[in-house]
């Protein structure tokens, strides 16, 4: 007898990615008695079938813990979205704290500054006790140092212990040196005067630098949250609940996490589709713009796929759930964008190398600056000059701008791409796309729709077109042939009324027959009519020949033993193809077409869309070879394709663009996936890539130029020639501005919008 299995559902805690789920799954599967374990990352649930004689919920939990995760009692508060909310909340708290620290520093700096400048008015100074003033300034500076600037010192110390130096190290050493010098001048001014040095204090420098750097950080944090806004918006699109229709017909609203495969879900007008599935009943127009960038609603009926997060517009329908959680299209898009945002662009390599050695190098430069000024400046001013320049070098050299230059631009542009249905796999793909000079288009499915459509409907003389179409559609509705589907679509578009056909019979390799309006009807190729002994009147033959000359497929129709007309069927060019190709050419790219069709068909399509160069009769296996051929000409090739047989060519190309969501294989091989079946996406992808790389180059230029010019000026290189020294406070202002300007430049990409089609 088959042993009875039990099913247990566990809420798993601590999973952060899809591979965590497979860790847990593996651990569970290896547990004795477990027959099947499925772990869903998105819903954070494990469903386990086990033999109660060998395993128990306790041993299952143990297996999860062994894998390094936890099991929680059912608690809806632990979903991935909630954890993101927790992180966001933590960030908001940190932002609030930073803001308070800034206002304390700014408020005190505003007091400290004028008090420090009293020396500019000798008359006032004479009435003031220097000693008292300095102690007063010290008291005002202490809260800035100990409260507002505390994090810099703690972080610098932690970093030092780990032999790591970051921007905080520079700020801590710089402001710390200025403060300690001032402290000494306040407490033991006599020592300074004995050395012939005025006991000057730099409390204003310390306080102002801290206030300015905090302001920079504040602006930076605000801008940084905007860079990931697109992905957050995508994640927020998911529906929270679904209306599940129970087998008894009862409708229940359940949280999205509880929706299971094969559930039937009802969607009413104006509602969000809860998850991915197949329509079983009803029809509607669905707005899929959030996933594909397609602005027009898409007509959906029985048998069509619907996707979670899309918006149902007009009708209501029921669909069967085919995917939940991490498997849904929305989750996959989010994952892909997240992966791209975590990747590094090759253009960043130099910046990476520089930032790895940057801080210690700057500290060394600052020390040498101090020594040189001390040795070369006049004795009475050498200590203050050495100190001021030492601090200025440390403060201006902050590498923030360098570190932010590439990642922020990539974050914004990958998010922006997703918004317009262009999914970028990684930063390298984004960078490659801008170097492209040749676009190779696979004809079928990219330039054309990739499915046959009726282009000509020619009734024989004396036949009524409307009536004939009704008859033809009645027969073809019963057929499963793709050509028949094209005829039915055409009839529906012409709004031909539906009539019944009887005795339908498909004739292998030739066509079909049925009885409509008690008359026998034949639809198929020439042989079908020939074998039935039906001859073609000259007008019909002529029409057929003309269609054949245009490389179209011809369907012959006979009603009641008489030839009644011909239908031309062809793969049609998309309306947007010619415009998109013209755009690509205007962008300076050569567009080349490749197809398995005859040279005649190829020439016709090429001419129709304005392509000068094409490869015809290319076998699927040779597609990658054609890419190589173009590359051998010294071209950087972008290949656009949509099918499994395009995968080798997509991989061979410098950058592959898989179209129409593509097949999984094509998506895997492509650097960029276009969610919409429209060449306009290629224009958008290349345009976005060009703008992003331009932004990154600007950012890197600013960051590098700022540091390469800023450090020597701060070190006092201009002083011997022009008497120019950089005040540490100006250095702090410039530093704060540098990262903010780089971020602002990256955020300009948010304004990207594809050229209208």
């Amino acid at each position: 007898m088959e042993p009875t299995t039990k099913t247990e559902t566990l809420d798993i805690e601590g999973m952060t990615c899809a591979s965590c789920a497979s860790f847990v799954e593996k651990s569970l599967t290896r547990t004795p008695g477990v027959q099947r374990a499925v772990v869903n990352f998105a819903t954070e649930k494990a469903t386990i079938d086990y033999l109660p004689t060998q395993a128990s919920p306790a041993t299952l939990k143990e297996a999860v813990v062994k894998a390094g995760y936890g099991v929680t009692e059912r608690d809806p508060d632990t979903s991935a979205a909630d954890r993101q909310a927790e992180i966001d909340q933590q960030k908001a708290v940190a932002y609030g704290k930073l803001k308070r620290r800034f206002w304390v520093a700014a408020g005190l700096a505003v007091l400290i500054m004028p008090l420090s400048m009293l020396m500019l008015w000798p008359a006032l100074m004479q009435q003031m006790n220097m000693q008292v003033l300095n102690y007063g300034l010290l008291l005002l500076t202490l809260p800035v140092l100990l409260y507002s600037g505390r994090e810099f010192y703690v972080s610098a110390w932690n970093g030092f212990r780990h032999r790591a130096a970051n921007m905080d190290t520079l700020i801590a050493v710089g402001t710390g040196a200025a403060f300690l010098y001032s402290l000494a001048a306040t407490v033991v001014p006599g020592w300074f005067t004995r050395q012939g040095i005025m006991p000057e204090v730099y409390y204003d420098t310390t306080a102002t630098i801290i206030a300015l750097i905090l302001l920079g950080k504040l602006l930076e944090l605000r801008a940084k949250t905007q860079t990931s806004a697109a992905i957050k918006a995508l994640m927020g699109l998911q529906a929270k609940t679904a209306r599940v229709v129970r087998p008894g017909g009862q409708e229940v609203d359940v949280p999205i996490e509880q929706v299971q495969l094969n559930d039937i879900i009802l969607v009413r007008p104006g509602e969000k589709v809860a998850t991915d599935g197949l329509i079983e009943e009803g029809h509607s127009a669905v707005d899929e713009a959030m996933l594909t960038g397609e602005s027009l609603p898409v007509e959906k009926r029985g048998g069509d796929l619907v996707f979670g997060a899309t918006l149902n517009k007009t009708g209501s329908f029921r669909f069967r759930v085919t995917k939940v959680g991490a498997d849904t299209l929305l989750s996959q898009i989010v994952k892909l964008v997240e992966d791209a945002q975590g990747s590094r662009a090759p253009i960043q390599r130099l910046a990476d190398k520089v930032s790895a050695v940057f801080v210690p190098t700057v500290v060394v430069i600052a020390i040498l600056t101090f020594v040189l000024w001390f040795d070369l400046a006049p004795v009475e001013s050498r200590l203050p000059l050495a100190l001021v320049n030492f601090v200025a070098v440390l403060i201006i050299a902050c590498p923030c701008a360098l570190g932010l230059a590439t990642p922020t631009a990539i974050m914004v542009s990958t998010g922006k791409g997703a918004e317009h249905g262009v999914l970028i796999r990684n930063a390298e793909a984004l960078e490659k796309a801008h170097q492209v000079d040749t676009v190779l288009l696979d004809k079928t499915g990219t330039i054309t729709r990739g499915e046959p459509a009726v282009t000509d409907f020619v009734p024989a003389p004396g036949q009524d077109a409307g009536a004939l179409l009704q008859v033809v559609a009645a027969v073809e509705r019963q057929s499963e042939h793709p050509l028949a589907a094209a005829v039915v679509r055409y009839a529906e578009a012409q709004e031909a009324s539906v009539i019944a056909a009887a005795g339908f019979q498909a004739i292998e390799g030739k066509g079909a027959q049925a009885v409509v309006n008690s008359q026998p009807v034949l639809i198929g190729n020439f042989r079908l009519l020939e074998e039935a002994g039906i001859s073609l009147p000259p007008a019909v033959r002529q029409a057929a020949d003309a269609l054949l000359a245009q490389a179209k497929t011809v369907l012959y129709v006979a009603v009641a033993g008489q030839a009644a007309g011909v239908i031309g069927v062809a793969d049609t060019v998309r309306e947007t193809s010619a415009t998109a190709i013209k755009r690509l050419q205007a962008m300076g790219l050569e567009v080349v077409m490749m197809t398995g069709d005859t040279p005649q068909t190829a020439a016709q399509v090429a001419q129709q869309v304005g392509i000068a160069r094409y490869f015809a009769e290319v076998l699927p296996a040779d597609k990658a070879g054609k890419v190589k051929e173009l590359q051998a000409e010294g071209r950087t090739v972008a290949m656009v394709g949509d099918g499994i047989n395009d995968a080798p060519a997509l991989a061979q190309a410098d950058i592959g663009l898989a179209m129409g969501g593509g097949t999984d294989v094509a998506m895997e091989a492509a650097g960029i996936t276009l969610m919409r079946s429209d060449l306009q996406g290629v224009v958008t992808a290349i345009d976005l890539s060009r703008q992003t790389i331009r932004t990154i180059k600007q950012n890197l230029f600013f960051a590098f130029i700022y540091n390469t010019l800023g450090i020597p000026i701060a070190a006092g290189l201009l002083y011997p020639f022009f008497g120019i020294l950089l005040s540490p406070m100006l250095a702090a202002g410039a530093m704060a501005l540098s990262s903010v300007s780089v971020l602002t430049n990256s955020l300009r990409l948010r304004g990207f919008s594809p050229l209208p089609s």
Partner: protein, 125 residues
Amino acid sequence: MDTTEIIVTLVGLALAAFVVWYFFLSARPTTSAVSSSGGVQQVDITVKGGYSPDVIEVERGKPVQLSFYRDEENSCSEELLLPDFSIRRDLPAFKTTLVELLPQQAGTFAFTCGMGMLRGRLVVK
């Protein structure tokens, strides 16, 4: 050059030499991953002004699980990047964040903070 200048110069050069040695040249301890019963290589990493340990040795082809405990609130370390594995993760303060990956190729792969200042290395053998 007076005595003070000589002292300042010597101290300055010594400090500069120390900075170079301390940050660039000194040897760093390497930690090897511990394999769990499930065949997963596990490493605990504390994030506080840097990563400790910051050089981690793992074996190729076996899943790796890095648990990062961020022991500070300082914003510098709030993001973790493993660009070779396309991983960007927020590290909440005073919490452990698990990062899983499967190293397929031998080599040295950097992990850094969001701006590339704090650095560690994953050495795949």
